[in-house]
Symmetry: D2
Subunit: 321 residues, 4 copies
C-alpha cells in the first residue's frame, strides 16, 4: 500500500446549499494559500475548467509549484453550468452531448499538462427525477459511447467514473458500484475505471470495503474520495466521525489489495473552517492507518476467518479498553 | 372542508443547490408578475424579511392588491443568513437567540399588517450534524422558552412550527410530527400549532394523513405545505407525481377533519419552469379533490372499515379501468 | 410482449416472521387446491426440494396436470435449512459450498423434468451482518466459480441470479442490478441471467424499469417477480398498492423491450387471505397493462421525449379525471 | 447513574424469521440455565404470559431465585398470537381490544408478584400496511383510552410504551419518541412512560441520546433496550458493533440525566450463540461506560460546548491513538 492525501480544491471557495451561502468565493491564489495550511496534504483535486482552465493554466502551474502540490485528480465540470442540468454525456440533445464529450477530452489533455493521472467523470445531472422522464435505453447507450470516445482520446490518462446514487438528480444513472463497474467493463478500455467515494458507497447501502474489492478484482479502482455520513445522504462529514468500524475495515482492505494512489478529501465544511476540517480528516485517516498496525493485520485476519461476530467485535472493542 | 391554494413566493426568485444555480434572482415586481400567471393560486407564502420587509411593505401590499393575492403564510427567515447556521431559537449564544426571538415577534406584527393569519417557524439550522455536538437538554429548553415568548407577543396571529427531519442539518430538533406536537403542547398556548409539509412527513416515514389527524386531535393543524418525494429526502417534486395513493388518502382526511385553510405549494423547480410546475401541481390537487367525489366518501369509508387490503386496493384501482 | 402470470407456491403454505405464525403449513395437495382458485394464474413458482423433490415428483407432476399449471420458475432452497445460514455458494466452508452446488445442479435436472425453463438462485444468506465479517475477495471468487459450475452443468436450463440488497443478512453480496449483471457477465455463459424482483429494485433505490432495461441490453433478463413496498424493505405488498406510476412505467418498458416470459407474484399475505391477495395482484397487473393501451404508447412516448416533468405528470394524471 | 444489565429471556428460546429457524425452542429451565451463563446479567426481561404465566409462576419464581435473577422487565404478549395481527389496544374490534386490556392488567398484577417494576407495551401489530387501511382518529383515541385504563389499574407498577417505527407492520402507530411521549403526556398518569430501544431510535433516524433527554425532561424514561443496527431496520446486532460514537454519547447522557435503571439486551442471535452474543454485548457496554471515565466527562463537556465538529472529533479519535 502506498497512499497520499489529497484535498478538493473547491473546499476553499464558495460553499452553499439551497438555503444559505456558508463560505464566500475566493481567488485562485487565496485558495492555494488556504489549502497549503493543511499539513499532510500533498495533492489538490480540481474541477476543470472551473478552478483552472487553459486561460490560467500557467498561473495554476506556478502556484502548484510554489505550494508544492501535485494534482491528485481532476473532475470535469459537467454539473455547475445550467446547460448540463438535463444531462451531459447521456443527453438526448446531441449538441449538448458532443459538447460534454469535447470538454472531457480537453480535460484529459489538461490533465496530462498538469501531471494529473486520473480524470473523474461525475455525472450528477445524468439521471432523472420522475418516472417516465428518461429513455433508459438510449441514455445508457449514450453513456457507453460517450465514455468510450473520451477514453479513446488518449490512453495515457485514466478516466474514472464516479458513482453516486442521487443528488442533484433524485436518480443518477451511474449510481452504484455495480453499475459503474458494468459500464467500465462494457467500454472495455484499460484506462476506464472508477472513482470510489466512501460516502457514496455508504448511502447506496454498500460496504465500502466490499466495493473497492469488487473494483480491484477487475483492475478498475482508480481513485478514492473520503468523507462520512449517516447512510442516508451525501452529508460529506469529517472522516470517521460517524462510522468508525467501516472506516477501519477500509484501511485493512487498502492494504490487502495493495492500493497505491490518492485518498482525496471530498468533505463539505458547511459550518466548519475548511482548513481545520481537512486537517482533522487527515489526522483521522492517519489514526486509522496506524490503528491497523496496533491491532495487527494477523489479528484482524484471524478474527475475520472465524466469521463470528462476537469474536470480531471483541477484537475491535479491545482497542478502547 | 374549505381549501384555498397558495404558492411559495420564493419559487419565482433565485433557486440553487450545492452545484448549480437553476434560476436567477428577480425583483419583487417580477416575482409577482410570474406568480400571477398561476391560475387558481389565491395566496402567496413569503419569507420575512427577505421577500418583503418593513422597508418595502407598502410596495408589497400594493402589489398584493394589484394581483389579487392574499398572504397565505409567512416564514421567518431564521435560515438564509450566516448568523443562524449554528442555530437560532435554540442557540446556546444568548445574543443570537434574542435576535431570533425579536425578529420572529416583528414577523407576527408584519403578518397582522399584511393580513396573514399564520407565521411559520421553520428552524432548519436548529439541530446538529455530529454526535456530541448538541446539548439536547439546553437546546430543547431554549426552544420551548423561545416559542412561548414569541407566541405570547400577540395572540391574534398563529405561530406554526414546521417540522423537518433533516436538511440543512443532518438532524433537526423539530423533526417529526410527534416532536412538533409535543413542543406545541408543552408551550400550551392556543396560538401555537404546526405547519405540516406533506413531503417532510413522507421522508420521516410518516403517513401524512395520520400526521394531520394527530394534529387535528389537539387543534394544532395550522397550515399545510404540498410537494412529493421518494420518502428519502425533501426533493420537493410535483404534487402526486410519485405517491398517488397517499395523496388521495390525504384529501379523504382533509374532508373528514373538515380542514379550512391553505394548501400551499412548497415545490422546487430545479429543472422546471416555476409557473408551469405550480400550475401542474394545483391541477393535480384539484384532480385529487374531485377524485374523492368520483369514488365517493362512502365507498372509501366502507373499504376502510374492512381493514382488508385487497378490498381497499380494488376500490382504488377501479378508477383506472 | 407476451406475458403470463405465475404465483409463488409457498404463499399457500406456512407463513411467519420473527413474531407470529400467520398461516399454517399445508399439504402439497391443499396448496394446489388453493392456488387453483386464483383466476388468471397459469404458472407456479416452487422452491426445490422443499416444495417438491425427487421423492414426490410424480405426485407433483400429476397435480400440475390436474390443475393445469405450468412451472413458471424454480428457486433452489439455499436458505431454509440451518446449514446455509452462513452462506452457500460463497461459503468459505468448501463442504457446504459443494453441497450447495450439487443441490443447484440437481435443481436444473429437476427443472428439465417438470418443464421449467428458469431456475432462480436467490442467495439470501450469502453476505454479512458486520464489518470485518466477510472476506469479500474470496466470497466473490467463490460465487463466480459456483455459478459457472452450476450453469455449465447443462445449457438447456436458464440460471437466474435474484438480487436483493438485504434480508435475511444485513448485506447480501448479490444486492443490486449492477452487481448481479456484473456477475452474470463475468461468468459469461449464455444461460446465466437475472431474476428481477420489482420490490427488491425499489428498495435498492433503483427504478425497476431502468433495471430491466439494463438487463435487456445484455440479454440477461430471465424472470420477473412482482410485489410492492415503501422503498425501505421487502414488504411484499399487493402489486401497485403503493407505487402506481413506477408500476405503470414498468408495463411501458415491458412492451418496449418486448418481454416474453412470466410475471410471477412474490407477495406475502401476512394478514391477508393468500388467494384473495394473489387474485387482487393479478387484477391490478391486468389493469396496468390495459392502462397502457388506454393512454397509448405514442402518447407516453411523446411525453417522455419532452423530458418535462409537468408534461409527463399531466399525461398521467389525465387518466384520473 | 445506577445501571444494571438485563437480558431478554426469549433470546434463549426459538428464534426464527421468514426464511429460517435459527434456534430451537427450549424449556423454561433450559432457558434459565443458558441465561445464567451470561456474566454480569442481573435481570431477565420476559414476555407474559408466553414465557411465564399464572400457571407456572411458582416454577418461574423458584428458578429466578435459584439463578439469582431479578425480573428487569415484562412485555405483554400482544404480538405472538394470531388474534392480535390486526391490532390489540387500538383494535376496531371492541372484543379484541378488551381482551388486550385485560391481559395487560393481568400483566401488571403478575409484575407485582414477581417483583418487576415496569411492564412494557410494545404494540407491533397496532398500525397499518397500506394507505386507507386505518382509521387514524379512532385508532389513536382507542390507544389513549386503553393505555389509560391499563395504567389506572394500579399505580404501583410502571407502564412503559415501547415505540418502533415499523415491523411487523409497515407503519406502527407508536413509532417515534415524539409520538410515544405525546401519548404518555395525553394519558397524563404518573406511571405511564416510555421504553426506549436504542436501535428503534436509530432507525427512526433519531439520535438516541436526544431521545432519552426528551423523555427525561418529562420524567417518562422508564426503561432502555440495547442493540445496534445500520439505521435502516431493527437488525438487533451486538451493542456498539456498528455505531460506536452514538453509543458512547449515550453513556455520557445516561450520567448527565442520572439514569437509575436497567439496560436490557434486545439483540437477536440469528447466526450467533445467544450466550456469547449477550456476553459480548454486556462487555461492550462496560467498555463504553469506562471509556467515559477515561476521556473524562469534563473533557467531553468542553468539547461539546465548542459545538465545533473538528474539536469534538479530535477528542473522540484521541482514544484510538
Amino acid at each position: 500500500m502506498e497512499i497520499r492525501y489529497g484535498i478538493g480544491f473547491w473546499l476553499f471557495g464558495q460553499l452553499q446549499d439551497r438555503f444559505t451561502v456558508y463560505h464566500d468565493a475566493r481567488s485562485m491564489e487565496e485558495k492555494f494559500e488556504r489549502a497549503s495550511k493543511v499539513e499532510g496534504a500533498e495533492g489538490l483535486e480540481v474541477i476543470y475548467p472551473v478552478e483552472f482552465s487553459d486561460e490560467n493554466i500557467d498561473e495554476f502551474k506556478s502556484l502548484l509549484k510554489k505550494h508544492g502540490f501535485k494534482v491528485s485528480g481532476m473532475i470535469v465540470d459537467l454539473f455547475t453550468k445550467r446547460k448540463w442540468i438535463n444531462g451531459s454525456l447521456s443527453s438526448m440533445d446531441e449538441k449538448i452531448r458532443r459538447e460534454a464529450i469535447e470538454l472531457s477530452k480537453k480535460a484529459l489533455d489538461a490533465a496530462k499538462e498538469v501531471g494529473c493521472e486520473t480524470v473523474t467523470l461525475w455525472l450528477g445531472h445524468d439521471g432523472y427525477d420522475y418516472p417516465f422522464q428518461a429513455d433508459y435505453l438510449k441514455a445508457w447507450n449514450n453513456l457507453s459511447e460517450s465514455v468510450r470516445e473520451i477514453a479513446s482520446h488518449r490512453g495515457d490518462v485514466k478516466v474514472a467514473l464516479e458513482y453516486k446514487l442521487k443528488e442533484p438528480r433524485t436518480h443518477i444513472f451511474i449510481g452504484t458500484v455495480g453499475k459503474a463497474l458494468m459500464l467500465a467493463e462494457e467500454v472495455g478500455l484499460r484506462n476506464v475505471g472508477v472513482t470510489m467515494d466512501f460516502g457514496h458507497a455508504l448511502y447506496a447501502f454498500e460496504n465500502p470495503s466490499e466495493s473497492i474489492v469488487l473494483l480491484h478484482r477487475k483492475n478498475r479502482l482508480f481513485h478514492i474520495h473520503f468523507n462520512d455520513n449517516y447512510r442516508d445522504w451525501d452529508h460529506d462529514l469529517i472522516v470517521s466521525s460517524i462510522n468508525l468500524w467501516e472506516n477501519l475495515e477500509f484501511f485493512y482492505w487498502l492494504r490487502k489489495i495493495d492500493y497505491r494512489g490518492w485518498l482525496s478529501l471530498d468533505i463539505y465544511p458547511y459550518r466548519e473552517d475548511p482548513v481545520k476540517m481537512c486537517q482533522r480528516s487527515i489526522e483521522n485517516l492517519k489514526i486509522l492507518d496506524k490503528l491497523i498496525d496496533k491491532i495487527g493485520m494477523k489479528n484482524l485476519e484471524e478474527a475475520m476467518k472465524t466469521g463470528d461476530s462476537t469474536t470480531i467485535t471483541a477484537t475491535l472493542m479491545e482497542i478502547l479498553k
